[in-house]
Structure formats: structure tokens, C-alpha cells
């Protein structure tokens, strides 16, 4: 495994202050040589499911007991309910989601052809909701947003994650990667400290996973409800006592793209269950 391997600080787009920290503890800053060198090789990627317990795996696998399915069902109702100025439903334009949305979420975040912005699946749904359907956008992290995302993302169950980092996406990828490897918060830890150098080890009651994004939105037992990837990332930022960035913020969006690139080939699991 390339963890803790050759560290090229030259390419590191991180501040000089961090450089000092990195020199003091070089082994803890696994920063690969080229920005597309993978710290965890593709054949060693593991879904967070592998680091949960037997009970959580059983709950996720049972499509009745999996509480996330309640949101999927609500999402299906939204899909078929007319809304907006022309009284159209998502289904009026997109037909059966099982075919039209299959594999869509696996390609996001992606640069939107129209606005040229990087959009994650939530933002893309909302762009269609307000732009095409002419209905009020779903509020971030609302029950309806989570429900429609759960429904759309479930159509990518079993579809390998595969995002593009070409063209306009590249700068987002680089920023997301820099964010990922930057130490932050009172604990002075980067995402990699936990999810690349210490996965498989315990942090209090939890087993640290590789921090993969192929399962969102998730039903998290601690939350007792559904939550987005960005909510999960806020929980990680909170954990290291770092600034809590809002759901949908450009920083979290960039890191989401990096995470998706890093997860290339992992199969979609929404709606997943996590501790």
C-alpha cells in the first residue's frame, strides 16, 4: 500500500505553515507525487459497509427493514406528483426513473452543460426542479430533498462511481484534493489522517472506514434519520473541531468531486445504512 509513501511536497498546494507541520511529521502526510496518483489503489477500495457491523449490513440489505427505503418511497411519490407552473411531474419529462435515472448519480458531481457550474446530484435535481419543472427548489437537507435524492440515487445501485475530472472540472478536483490533504481544526488533522492512514482502526466506538461517498444519502443510526454526504462531512469537520462549512458550499462540493474520483469503480449503495 502506498500509504506514507514518497512524499512530494513540491506539488502540494498547501500553505507554508502546513509545510512546517509536514516536515515535523513527514510520515503522516501521505501526499502523492502527481495529483492523480491514488493513495489507495483502485483494487483496494472498500465501501464503508465493510467497516460496519453484521447488524448494519443486514439492515441495509433488507429492503423492507432499511429505514432509508421510507425516503425512497417518499421520493417516488415526489417523482410522480405534478408541481410547478405547467403542472408537470418529474415523470412527465423523464418517464420511468428506473431507466432514465439509472447510473445518473454515479456520474455526479459533474460540470453542468448549461450553467458551466460544478453540480452535485442534489444541485442538479434542483436545477431541473426550478429550471425545467418551474417549481420551488427543494431546501438543502430537507426531507423532500433527501427523499428525491434517495430515489434518484437508488437507481444507481450497483453502478460503479465514475466522474470526469477533465476540462472545467479539473480545477475543482485540484481544490478538492488540496482540501482533503490539508490539516484543519483544533485537532490539526486532514481527511487523509483518518481515512487513508488509519482506516480499519477504531476511533471510540467507530471503525474508521476509507471515507467513501458511494452510499449517500445514508440512514445514519446516530442521526436517527437520513442525511446527505455534506451532512456527513460536517460531522467529520466537527470531529476535528474545524470550521463547519454549510451544506452545498463550494469547498464541500470540490471535496465531493475529489471523493468521487477517489472512489472510482465502487458500486452505488443508496440508500445505505451507517452507524
Amino acid at each position: 500500500m502506498a500509504r506514507g509513501a514518497a512524499v512530494s511536497l513540491a506539488v502540494a498546494r498547501i500553505g507554508a505553515a502546513l509545510l512546517a507541520v509536514a516536515c515535523a511529521v513527514p510520515a503522516t502526510l501521505a501526499y502523492a507525487q502527481s495529483s492523480t496518483t491514488r493513495v489507495i489503489p483502485l483494487d483496494q477500495l472498500k465501501s464503508g459497509l465493510a467497516y460496519t457491523g453484521e447488524d448494519v449490513r443486514a439492515l441495509q440489505a433488507d429492503d423492507f427493514a432499511n429505514p432509508g427505503m421510507l425516503w425512497v418511497e417518499r421520493g417516488e411519490k415526489i417523482w410522480n406528483t405534478p408541481a410547478g407552473a405547467d403542472g408537470k411531474s418529474c415523470a412527465s419529462c423523464h418517464g420511468d426513473a428506473k431507466s432514465s435515472m439509472k447510473g445518473v448519480a454515479a456520474r455526479y458531481p459533474a460540470i453542468d452543460a448549461k450553467s458551466k457550474q460544478l453540480l452535485n446530484i442534489e444541485a442538479r435535481i434542483n436545477a431541473s426542479r426550478s429550471g425545467d419543472q418551474k417549481a420551488p427548489a427543494f431546501a438543502p437537507e430537507s426531507e423532500d430533498m433527501l427523499a428525491i435524492t434517495a430515489y434518484v440515487n437508488m437507481q444507481s445501485r450497483g453502478v460503479p462511481v465514475g466522474v470526469s475530472i477533465d476540462g472545467a472540472a479539473r480545477e475543482h478536483f485540484e481544490r478538492g484534493r488540496a482540501f482533503y490533504y490539508t490539516r484543519r481544526g483544533q485537532m490539526n488533522m486532514s481527511c487523509a489522517t483518518c481515512h487513508e492512514q488509519n482506516f480499519g482502526k477504531r476511533l471510540f466506538a467507530e471503525t474508521i472506514s476509507q471515507g467513501q461517498p458511494n452510499d449517500f444519502p445514508i440512514y445514519r443510526l446516530e442521526w436517527q434519520t437520513m442525511g446527505s454526504l455534506h451532512r456527513r462531512l460536517r460531522a467529520c469537520l466537527y470531529g476535528v473541531r474545524a470550521e463547519l462549512l454549510p451544506v452545498g458550499s463550494p469547498e464541500l462540493l470540490d471535496v465531493e468531486l475529489f471523493l468521487a474520483w477517489r472512489a472510482q469503480g465502487l458500486k452505488g449503495e443508496a440508500p445505505a445504512v451507517r452507524r
Binding site: 423492507f64 427493514a65 427505503m69 421510507l70 425516503w71 417518499r74 411519490k77 436517527q224
Partner: protein, 107 residues
């Protein structure tokens, strides 16, 4: 909208027992928590849930803040006639819910 899901075997035999499952989307807010600024969050849990089989009460559950969010109930009934399994429940906020499913009995 999509507050519950019910699962019953597609066909059951008269006299046989069959399993009924209901999963309910409800926050089951305990009343013991406070929000980000320290204000107590009002208790809102499901109070009573009643299941009827063809109009006859088959199960009544008094729920409380000891239940986890989004509860799932599983129980067994004995098959009589084809018809309907219906559920009704209400919560501290005064909202009433109802959900039903068909049951087909052979023999």
C-alpha cells in the same frame, strides 16, 4: 406523503398465521433534547397505533419516547377472510395518519 410502508405476504391460507410488518417514518422526538441554542425540542412521538383486520381491532400499541425513530413493527395474525389490514396512529403534534394494505386469503 409516504409516511409508512406495509408488508404482507401476497397470499395467505385461511387458518394460517401470517406476518405483518409496518415501517413508519416518524422522528419520535423524545422531548429530552435541546436545539443548537439550548431551547428544548418539544416532544412529538406516536401515541397510539391501532391495526384492524377487516374492521376488527387486531393490535393496539401504546408508544412512548422509548421508541427509536422510524419504528418498525412486526407481528403475526391468523388469516380469516380476504380484505384489508388498516393502520391508524396519531402523535403528540395532533397529526392523524392512516395506511392500509390488501390481504388475499386462499381456501
Amino acid at each position: 406523503m409516504a409516511d409508512a410502508r406495509i408488508q404482507i405476504a401476497p397470499q395467505v391460507k385461511r387458518g394460517d398465521s401470517f406476518e405483518v410488518k409496518i415501517a413508519i417514518r416518524h422522528a419520535m422526538e423524545t422531548g429530552y433534547r435541546v436545539d443548537d441554542v439550548g431551547k428544548p425540542i418539544k416532544r412529538n412521538v406516536i401515541r397510539a397505533l391501532v391495526c384492524k383486520y377487516n374492521g376488527t381491532e387486531a393490535l393496539r400499541v401504546d408508544m412512548s419516547s422509548g421508541f427509536a425513530a422510524n419504528p418498525l413493527l412486526q407481528f403475526w395474525l391468523v388469516a380469516g377472510n380476504s380484505g384489508e389490514i388498516s393502520f391508524e396512529w396519531d402523535d403528540d403534534a395532533g397529526t392523524r395518519y392512516a395506511e392500509r394494505a390488501a390481504v388475499t386469503v386462499a381456501g
